[in-house]
Chain length 206, copies 2
């Protein structure tokens, strides 16, 4: 693209570096900011710079937090013995939204992915193993996505804690509530039959 302005070209370049945003979308967003009051752009950049510069990670679960210990870890009413292992804050938010989980989290910060150059040493696995070793955790719930990377990560952690005194489980895979059977993929449907639950138990979950 041939811009008439270096300032514009530079801004479009920086915005287009964001994932999933091409040059055209970047130009549209930048032109939008030009039409808005200057304060809007100031607010946007200040919020980003503030976040990037001041953000902390909970020293216990590694979730994004404004303090050295996040609200969930600081909550004495939540069960220390039940820990859900997730990839990032989006998974924490999704699970918190259900209102079904009263334990704590351990945020890995990603999944093992040789393709993207992410190895176990890039994730918060060491501190998880340490926590398990201390014996406070009774059950670990693996809640990573069921992709190749997710399964690899689950398996790697599982090997690290093998022999230690802890129960492990993974979240149930199955047909989504409200979904039609005929449109489900066979792997999911197969799993939902293998891992069927007693009828009374299924009612309780709603």
């Amino acid at each position: 693209m041939d811009f008439s302005s270096k300032l514009l070209e530079n801004a479009v370049y920086e915005v287009s570096q964001l994932p999933g945003i091409g040059k055209r979308t970047a130009l549209r967003l930048v032109l939008h900011l030009l039409k808005q009051p200057e304060q809007r752009t100031e607010n946007l950049s200040t919020s980003l710079v503030n976040l990037r510069g001041k953000i902390q990670f909970c020293q216990n679960c590694h979730n994004i937090s404004d303090t050295t210990m996040c609200e969930i870890c600081a909550n004495l009413k939540r069960d220390d013995a039940l820990v859900c292992v997730v990839e990032d804050i989006r998974d924490v938010m999704a699970i918190e939204n259900t209102g079904q989980f009263r334990g704590k989290y351990h945020v890995l910060g990603g999944k093992i992915s040789p393709m993207e150059g992410i190895g176990p040493q890039n994730l918060k696995i060491g501190t998880l193993v340490d926590k398990v070793r201390k014996g406070v955790i009774k059950e670990l719930i693996f809640a990573l996505s069921s992709t190749m990377e997710g399964d690899t990560t689950n398996f790697y952690i599982f090997r690290q804690i093998e022999g230690l005194e802890v129960k492990t489980s993974t979240i149930a895979r199955g047909i989504a509530v409200g979904d039609e059977l005929e449109y489900a993929d066979e792997v999911t449907l197969g799993r939902s039959i293998l891992n069927r639950v007693p009828f009374e138990g299924s009612l309780r979950q709603d």
Copy 2:
């Protein structure tokens, strides 16, 4: 969404104010920035604040520019007598890309749109009429999109310059080069038949 961090919540809110970006996308973009070096976020915000604070608009054609007169208007080789009326810088870039236009532009900054509260007084129509009145312009090419708003704007400008000594034209509407006739909408196909061009003329344009 229930965030564990005010800093994060604030950044996601600001990003989600951009057009076409919802809360989820905003969160994805912000988390991406958190994984990147701090310099990346600094560069992004600086480029936006710089653009918003320092950008100028060409005093002649109103296009975005780093200087008081844009490169196209300052180019003495381009024809002052032929002016293409467009909505914004994206249209200028698109036409410049064709390499077919050696005249100058007049950037309105939008289209008349009562729905969005944009009236003629919000657009750069007055300076266009002034330019026509001075008699330098021999032909005005209307290159607005052929929507209700575009047609309204064309017509409004046309009425303002009625009686003045200037030729007016609009860009040709027709079947796109490489498109199949059978998939074209009837209005476009109808126009392409009404506005047919001599066979020799059609060859010259490639």
